[in-house]
């Protein structure tokens, strides 16, 4: 059916009457036969639709067809209006056929077959009567097995189309909601979740493509798949909709096989996308668990100490590594610090790290030397280590009375010693083996003499392996070169400087490993607690006696008057505060004061048996009791053997 390109396009009403009319009449007869045979409600609808087609074919104008517009658009709309009733006839016909076959109702099945054949004849007749335009619909085959099911929204202004789709899809097992216009469709998808939308292209109010645009521009709805439903001759519109983001299209009247296949494909695609999203969410959650484990075992703050200050920092990588650090007070004079790096990443590394940290604390708090401690840990970690996990671990003990730092190093990077004057040196080790590799290894130990203001900086390979955009590594020599300038800084500030240097070097490159650092600074030796010792009842008269005895002791040992006076005043102030609170519940009954005297200064220790915590004693340690803090250089508070202990350090000279 072609026409010369230059011939005017005549309105083909007469041809339609001639060619489509007889086919439509045959369809009416056959649908009536079917209605008589089956008698179900659907067959009545089919008969009504067949008559609508017949009327439209016989006299379009009388059937309500609007013949205004260009010949092309009139033909296009006429094709659409002729096909529309067929949607119902074909759709219901297939449904009736399927039910009849299931129920073994041969008579109805045969009648339905005749109807469907007649529908095909009408479709051919329409194409013969009208100028050619669209590609042929796909041939129908046998029904494929049932696909995935989902929640489907059908938006179509034709009640017949809606009914057919709802029937079809419900029968396939889908949950179907139907609406009659574009706005209702948009309201529906924003109000409740759907897996798929079937959107008619031409609807009153808001057209299908406008609804599609609205859905695709909403961040919440963008992922919702949409299948456009259109007449065959709307290929330009279909192409535009695919561009906007429609998943697929279907043309009317529906080919049941295509409908099922396209809906199935859409739902399957959506399901796979969801599986992928769920998986990513699970992985993300697991990473967060690992990060939480990692962060939760880090000590919140360095134990306050008259002779040492410290800080730790860890910046976890996106994919959690296995870094950790710890510091703990072993006894009055000794503080342990540890930094470790577990092999691998993610949850296994985080769990292993938590275990190492627990073992370390349990072992170290027995007071074992660093090397013995690592040997014990290695034995425990090497037994039953099927997965071949291992950890590098540096463990050192600062002894504030001896002024020493004793350490052992199991395969960890050499820490840096930053002297008070800015000189730097490596905290060298004997390159002992990582923990967990071989059972029964031995670990060596070394000792550094520390002077007041010296700092030990322990870090992990995330710091030295941080990379610049060029690929160059930060490197431990660069770290050593910079560290001298950080000599005077408080530990927390020193670590900040280190992180800033690494970040500046990375220039925004994401780091692939955790960045961890611990700095411990020796504030100067404190004397042991020998010399003066006195215990008093919590009574103001007793305080006067204590102060007199303390004065006499300091005088006898020729302590410079100013320093001695300041310390005595600080002790008196703190003891008086304890006595003032002694009347209340949980107040102290006895207060013991010890004083150690050394070349560096004096260390006073005030121990009371009041309930924990003694807020004012704690305040003093926190530096909030400004008066006491102006008198002495440093203070710390601790709860020892069920008593409150406040320590005040006053340097000499």
């Amino acid at each position: 059916m072609t026409r010369p390109a230059d011939a005017p396009l005549a309105l083909p009403f007469a041809r339609v009457g001639e060619i489509v009319g007889p086919a439509a009449a045959r369809l009416v007869t056959l649908t009536d036969d079917l209605a008589a045979a089956g008698g179900v409600a659907e067959t009545e609808c089919m008969a009504v639709a067949a008559r609508q087609l017949q009327a439209m074919a016989a006299d379009p104008a009388a059937a309500g067809f609007d013949a205004e517009g260009s010949p092309e658009s009139v033909c296009s709309r006429l094709r659409h209006d002729l096909r529309s009733p067929l949607v119902a006839v074909k759709g219901f016909g297939e449904l009736v056929l399927e039910i009849a076959e299931e129920e073994g109702d041969g008579a109805t099945g045969a009648a339905a077959h005749h109807v469907l054949d007649a529908v095909s004849e009408v479709l051919v007749a329409i194409e013969r009567a009208l100028p050619p335009q669209a590609p042929a619909a796909a041939r129908e085959g046998e029904a494929p097995p049932a696909g995935p099911v989902g929640r489907i929204l059908v938006a179509d202004d034709s009640a017949q189309n809606r009914d057919v789709l709802v029937q079809y899809l419900t029968r396939e097992g889908h949950q179907v909601t139907a609406v009659a216009d574009g706005l209702a469709a948009y309201d529906a998808v924003t109000a409740q979740p759907f897996d798929l939308v079937l959107l008619d292209m031409i609807m009153p109010g808001m057209n299908g493509d406008e609804v599609l645009k609205a859905i695709k521009s909403s961040p919440d709805l963008r992922a919702l798949p949409v299948i456009m439903v259109s007449a065959l001759d709307e290929s330009d519109n279909i192409a535009r909709c695919i561009e906007i983001g429609a998943e697929d299209y279907l043309s009317k009247p529906f080919n049941r096989v295509l409908l099922r296949a396209r809906i199935g494909a859409c739902l399957e695609k959506k399901r796979l996308r969801q599986v992928e999203l769920d998986y990513l969410a699970a992985v993300e959650k697991e990473l967060n668990v690992a990060r939480d484990v990692q962060m939760s075992i880090l000590p919140r703050q360095f134990p306050p100490h008259v002779a040492a200050a410290g800080a730790g920092v860890m910046v976890p990588a996106r994919e959690v590594g296995g870094d950790f650090y710890d510091f703990f007070r072993l006894d009055d004079d000794r503080i342990g610090i540890a930094v470790g790096d577990v092999s691998g990443k993610g949850v296994p590394a985080a769990v292993y790290m938590a275990m190492v940290r627990t073992l370390l604390r349990a072992t170290a708090l027995f007071g074992l030397s660093p090397s013995r401690c690592l040997e014990r840990l290695n034995e425990q970690l090497s037994a039953d280590n099927e997965r071949g996990m291992f950890v590098s671990l540096f463990y050192g003990i600062l002894d504030v009375v001896a002024g020493t730092f004793t350490y052992a190093n199991a395969g960890h990077l050499w820490p840096l010693l930053i002297r008070a004057d800015g000189a730097t040196d490596w905290v060298r080790g004997a390159d002992d083996l990582l923990l967990g590799v071989i059972w029964g290894g031995t670990y060596s130990e070394a000792e550094l003499a520390l002077a007041s203001g010296d700092t030990v900086l322990v870090y992990t390979d995330g710091v030295v392996e941080a990379a610049a955009p060029s690929g160059e590594e930060f490197g431990r020599h660069r770290l050593a070169g910079l560290a001298g300038a950080w000599a005077g800084a408080e530990p927390a500030a020193l670590l900040e400087s280190m992180l800033a240097a690494v970040r500046g070097f990375e220039q925004g490159q994401p780091h692939s490993d955790d960045l961890t650092g611990v700095a411990i600074r020796f504030l100067g030796r404190v004397p042991g607690r020998s010399g003066f010792e006195m215990e008093i009842a919590a009574d103001l008269v007793e305080v006067a006696r204590l102060v007199a005895a303390l004065d006499a002791y300091l005088h006898r040992h020729e302590v410079p008057v100013a320093a001695g006076y300041a310390l005595t005043m600080a002790v008196e102030d703190c003891v008086a505060a304890i006595v003032r609170r002694a009347g209340g519940r949980g107040g102290a009954r006895t207060i013991a004061v010890h004083l150690g005297l050394g070349a560096e200064g004096m260390l006073a220790e005030i121990v009371d048996d009041g309930a924990s915590p003694e807020p004012e004693a704690k305040d003093a340690a926190d530096g909030r009791l400004q008066f006491v803090m102006t008198l002495v250089a440093r203070a710390d508070y601790d709860r020892v053997e069920g008593r409150n202990r406040l320590r005040l350090f006053k340097p000499l000279g």
Binding site: D341, V342, S343, G344, K345, G388, M389, F390, S392, A410, G411, H412, L413, W414, D431, D432, L433, L434, V437, I438, D461, E465, E473, S512
Partner: protein, 111 residues
């Protein structure tokens, strides 16, 4: 990472080049284990073109060494460049793996 494993009699010769990072360490581990599955009694690793090794890469070598140990086999390393040597030095793994400067030395030691 570029990885090649050639079998020379009872020895699996592993050539690993580039960056042995955590991202590729699993593949490295699997290849080593497969070589042992195939019956290699000794492993010889050419590190001449290895620029970086992550802890997970070390783990793969340690696992292979542990698996060979009961039969007296070992994982031999040669050709380490400075940065990689540093890692083995600091981690104490020089004591676990026999390390040679060149392939000739390693082969001489293997007999």
């Amino acid at each position: 990472m570029e990885l090649q494993i050639d079998r020379q009699g009872r020895i699996a010769v592993v050539t690993v080049a580039g960056r042995l990072s955590s991202a590729v360490a699993d593949a490295f581990d699997e290849s080593l284990q497969r070589a042992l599955d195939d019956g290699a009694a000794e492993v010889l690793v050419d590190m001449s073109h290895l620029t970086f090794i992550a802890s997970t890469g070390l783990r793969a070598l340690i696992l292979a060494a542990k698996r060979l140990n009961p039969e007296g086999g070992r994982v031999h390393l040669f050709g380490m460049d400075e940065p990689v040597r540093d890692v083995f030095q600091v981690s104490g793994l020089m004591r676990v793996f026999p390390v040679y400067a060149t392939r000739a030395e390693a082969e001489a030691a293997l007999g």
